[in-house]
Symmetry: C2
């Protein structure tokens, strides 16, 4: 039941109205791996530079993340710098130094190739397909992407999507990818490209899932203190894929619980900078917040 | 169990990417009354000009709306003209002709004064309090307001809110009224002004309710064809107050079902111009969509 994640491992410099964090642990694979580690073992494929610290490696190791696939290259680790205003749904990228990530070619260690649950973080869709070529027979392929690839490599992205079971994107990306403003129409167009299920992430407004059995809506947890939204989407993905891997089921009921579990992990992620909150999270806290999500959304039939 | 609504009755001219409607029936009290009429008898207090047509009166009468309180003044009926872009959450007001509505002083007919459920549509907070002076002992006072009164008459609005049980506003208004960006903090600050429950309407992103028993989140129904959002908020209010009046309960479970019933009526309202969809709606259709809301949000505990 172990999970394979391919994506970025990075240093983030983040400024929010509530504070600033300098060169802290970030990256899509990092957030995903720690969030997913509460449910199933995680195998990580990524690349870091020779500046990447033992302390950061240790954070991942402590969560049982297998780092055999974390390549170390000569050069610097991917660095992203961003700034949020009070409207935490919008952010400005101040600086992106791809560094060693620019030449990243995912090599899947032999021991990872039988992973049945695969998360393709937001990288070049050509590389996402390279990963799928190297794995044996995944039961579930979940994929993230972004506006950069939707506009820059639309044909390659389509080829990748044809091999994907679940796509996770935000509402603006769904509109861009489909050319449809209406979200229901956008979802139908995107699912026709391959993904059996589409999850549209709307930040503080929650998530909409579209599958063969219709639509499912889950809110974001209304938090009094949102500190730093960086990594929320990848923590969502980690909770989503982690839950499915741990449960060993892929039916509609499991997908819905997985979406709520994704929202649960995302809600913790944003409570502190970097992976600080995820690091000190317990399974009991996760289960308690999942129960609060149930309470938040429950109403009786008439 | 009859309901008193005070608000505007208007002609609307609306342009959306999907069409244009000229001088069609609109106004907050109109949408509210028709939506609420599916659950309980509605008594309407408002004003129209001598241009207001019998055809429009008949639309309201057909829904059993009592029009004893609908004053007819010399002059023209309130006329609003607006335009929506594809992002139906945002609209431009092109023209507001208050006409007879400018001098509206609500006079509550004797027969209405014992109404236990009162909806104060979006009018001057001084007039909203005038209405409360004229009713005997309401069990539930629900109030709407807008940015114009929040910035223009803040002290008067506070005096009104102190006498209100439930406030319905949108997220931007909640932020403006409280001075807090975070919605949870905004809700706490607003509830401290008087309302026991606060419902924050977020258009296509649904509604958040804050009460003594915590928070409740309901999505908007994901519709493939949203034709005209005009009146959605007032239809929400009509479904909300209507359900509570019909059910005769005011506990948390009833408030939650009422919020979903509000979303149900709003989801029909936006399917056509003016009150066209509400007019040909049946109780069976309402109940069926309420069930779909249950299905849309349901997930099992872990």
């Amino acid at each position: 039941m172990s999970i394979l994640v391919v994506g970025s491992v990075a240093y983030d410099t983040v400024e929010t109205p509530f504070g600033r964090a300098e060169r802290v642990l970030g990256g899509s694979a990092t957030f995903f791996a720690i969030a997913a580690s509460f449910f199933a073992p995680v195998n990580l494929v990524g690349v870091v530079g020779d500046d990447f610290g033992d302390e950061q490696m240790e954070v991942l190791r402590k969560h049982g993340v297998d780092l055999q696939g974390l390549e170390r290259s000569a050069g610097k680790t991917f660095h992203w710098q961003g700034k949020y205003s009070f409207d935490l749904n919008a952010r400005d990228t101040i600086r992106t130094d791809l560094n060693v990530f620019e030449f990243f070619k995912p090599k899947i260690p032999a021991a990872y190739r039988r992973c049945e649950h695969v998360f393709l973080g937001n990288i070049d869709p050509v590389l996402q397909r390279d990963v799928l070529e190297q794995v044996e027979k995944p039961k579930l392929v979940v994929c993230d992407t972004m506006n950069f690839w939707i506009s820059g490599k639309p044909e390659e992205l389509r080829k990748t999507l044809a091999r994907v079971d679940v796509l996770l994107i935000n509402d603006a990306e769904a509109r861009q990818l489909s050319g449809e403003w209406n979200i229901v129409k956008a979802a139908r167009a995107i699912r026709a490209l391959g993904p059996r299920a589409l999850l549209i992430k709307k930040g503080e407004h929650g998530v909409l899932m579209f599958s063969d059995e219709g639509s499912f809506a889950a809110p974001a947890y209304p938090l009094e203190d949102v500190f730093d939204p960086t990594g929320a989407g990848d923590s969502f993905a980690g909770g989503f894929v982690g839950y499915l891997a741990g449960a060993g089921e892929l039916n509609e009921a499991a997908l819905r619980r997985a979406a709520v579990m994704g929202s649960t992990l995302a809600s913790f992620c944003v409570e502190a900078f970097s992976v600080d909150r995820l690091q000190r999270l317990t399974r009991a806290e996760i289960d308690e917040r999942f129960r609060l999500f149930k309470r938040l959304t429950h109403f009786e039939a008439i």
